[in-house]
Symmetry: C2
Subunit: 363 residues, 2 copies
């Protein structure tokens, strides 16, 4: 079988009855001068990772600067610190991880600093100064940062150009539009993964969510339908989790700022708790923030941060969001309790109980 | 204020407008000869725990025999091993923890044995041989077990006698009957906690669940209503978790045997997985078994066992059970994924996807 290859620049015509676009996404670039220097890395494919590792093995860099503070940048920061490399993280926002509630920000910054990562927020990169081959420093509006290795982790762009060129509808997000069958605007063409939009069940809007588990599920749906079967992908609720050194963060739904922007009458509740019953050895502090629609009482989202398996608790919110549960219903949940795993009153139950008093639909 | 005191044997008449019964439960006894010896312990109150600790501190026992293998017995076994005491656990069932699926049994037995606890199942205690003060051995149908300390953890009995004597309706379970307001059959008398029955939302039947978090929630409902407010307790789904040495077990709903006994057309699915993405350091094996109603596709229950925060995942099933979700709906959930926290396909999604094929309501 002949395959279209962009490496050779050649073009091949490959006939099809049914086509699945799984073109993925590519690393976003900063779009500033000097960015092509060979010690500036991004990370999307396995080969990118190997390239970074090879560079470290060969050149033994002592200082690194990371631009961006999402999943990938934070994981790269941890990996670089594990290699003993002095690491600075620069981010355009005030706190790391753009989708998170700002109340989590200081906790994350403290963890980064405790683990030897220097963090600077509200930084705008201007250009890299290079010697032609390698970048030597990054010039920003907040000063000049020199390093032996630079990493740029500022998100991904869907590879939807091939679809757009073929006349397939591409959404405002830049992702290929699909229905719940993962079918594009062309009936015999399906799409799956980071190249296409997903329905966000909380907002009802299409969104981009470049996550492996979502792509994996979509691929199965697209494949089954392309082969004449019937399967549907029913959208996402924005459930995700990330480990930042010893911190665990879970998130689901939309945050307060997003909810306000969408016009929801927003109420929020923060609960600080512990990961285990207070008397149980190993209990560590946790913080939960939930966001709800004041008029309907419906949960809109939440962030949960802690150290002791807390990230795994976010899926309770994910199911509640999937089901469109209200605070009243959430406050009635029977959740498993034992001293090694949670306080008697789960922080989510406390939050729902407190916040439901502010809603219009109290029973 | 004068308080009824059973310690003095005195009786006081305490007038009330509204009364809340929160009489709790007491440890069940084996009801065999010799059980009153002073080195045979149960554990329900803090004072029971202090009594055991004082006995250990004073007499330095070298061998212990535990009868029973529920939450309390298993936690006592761990505590005794921590004190270096040779511990044997005897249980009437084949595998520890009566409500669990039998597939978890060998995993738990292995953990007990790996941690130095000798386990024998299908044992019927006959009597204790005592020297008048202390028991020296427990005679069973499977042989004679000598020890310096004996522990009996075979469940609790609701303290519902006071209600029964007052003409309040007590259910077949032995717990005080209450409605969703925690009101007994006498309008001005409420009840809460281990002394009363709870509605099991999966079966629709009243049941006994002597757990602290449930009692705590019920107490608030009873108190609010007794003071003229309005609050409801909407029942339980059997969500619980337990730590057995390094093992974590979560359970929710009803098990296969219980479901069959209740006449559900039962289908089950076991999924063996890992706690993290396979490539991620620290991944450990997990086992999930779910039980569903074949005709409606509704989830009826599940057990989850593992080592690495797995018990915290059971609450996803707890919410699904609370909402009466079908396997089809569960299979569509967007759950948070990151390599340190789960495989790309969460075992619950795999289980629901596999099992929904056996139901009558596939989309």
């Amino acid at each position: 079988m002949r395959v279209f290859s962009s490496d050779t620049g050649g073009k091949f015509f490959l006939p099809y009855d049914r086509l699945i676009l799984a073109t993925g996404a590519r690393s976003r670039k900063l779009g500033i001068p000097g960015e092509e220097a060979r010690n500036i890395f991004t990370l999307k494919e396995m080969s990118d990772g190997l390239r970074i590792r090879n560079f470290i093995d060969r050149y033994n860099p002592r200082k690194a600067v990371i631009v961006g503070a999402g999943n990938i940048s934070l994981e790269v920061a941890e990996a670089l610190r594990d290699r003993g490399i002095e690491t600075t993280l620069l981010y355009r926002g005030k706190f790391p991880y753009s989708g998170l509630e700002p109340e989590l920000g200081p906790i994350i910054v403290k963890e980064l600093e405790d683990r030897g990562v220097r963090y600077l927020g509200e930084v705008q990169p201007r250009f890299f100064e290079t010697d032609g081959q390698k970048a030597q420093q990054l010039v920003t509006d907040q000063g000049v940062f020199s390093a032996d290795l630079f990493f740029v982790g500022v998100g991904v762009i869907p590879n939807s150009e091939i679809a757009r060129e073929a006349g397939i509808i591409v959404g405002k997000s830049g992702g290929i539009q699909v229905n719940s069958l993962m079918q594009t605007s062309e009936p015999n063409i399906w799409a799956a993964g980071d190249c296409c939009e997903k329905l966000h069940r909380v907002t009802g809007q299409p969104t981009l969510v470049p996550l492996g588990d979502v792509a994996n599920k979509e691929g199965r749906v697209a494949g089954e339908n392309a082969m004449g079967g019937h399967s549907e992908f029913h959208g996402i609720v924005g459930a995700a989790c990330v480990k930042i050194f010893g911190l665990e963060i879970g998130m689901a739904g939309i945050n307060e700022a997003q909810a306000k922007k969408m016009g929801f009458p927003v109420i929020t509740q923060i609960v600080e708790g512990t990961s285990r019953a207070g008397v149980y050895p190993g209990a560590s502090p946790t913080l939960l923030k939930i966001v709800a629609d004041q008029s309907s009482g419906r949960l809109l989202g939440g962030n949960w941060i802690g150290r002791d398996g807390e990230a795994r608790k976010i899926n309770v919110l994910a199911v509640a969001l999937h089901q469109g549960m209200t605070l009243e219903a959430i406050s009635r949940l029977d959740l498993a309790y034992a001293p090694p795993f949670s306080p008697v009153w789960d922080p989510l139950l406390i939050a729902a109980n407190l916040l439901k008093r502010k809603t219009g639909n109290r029973q």
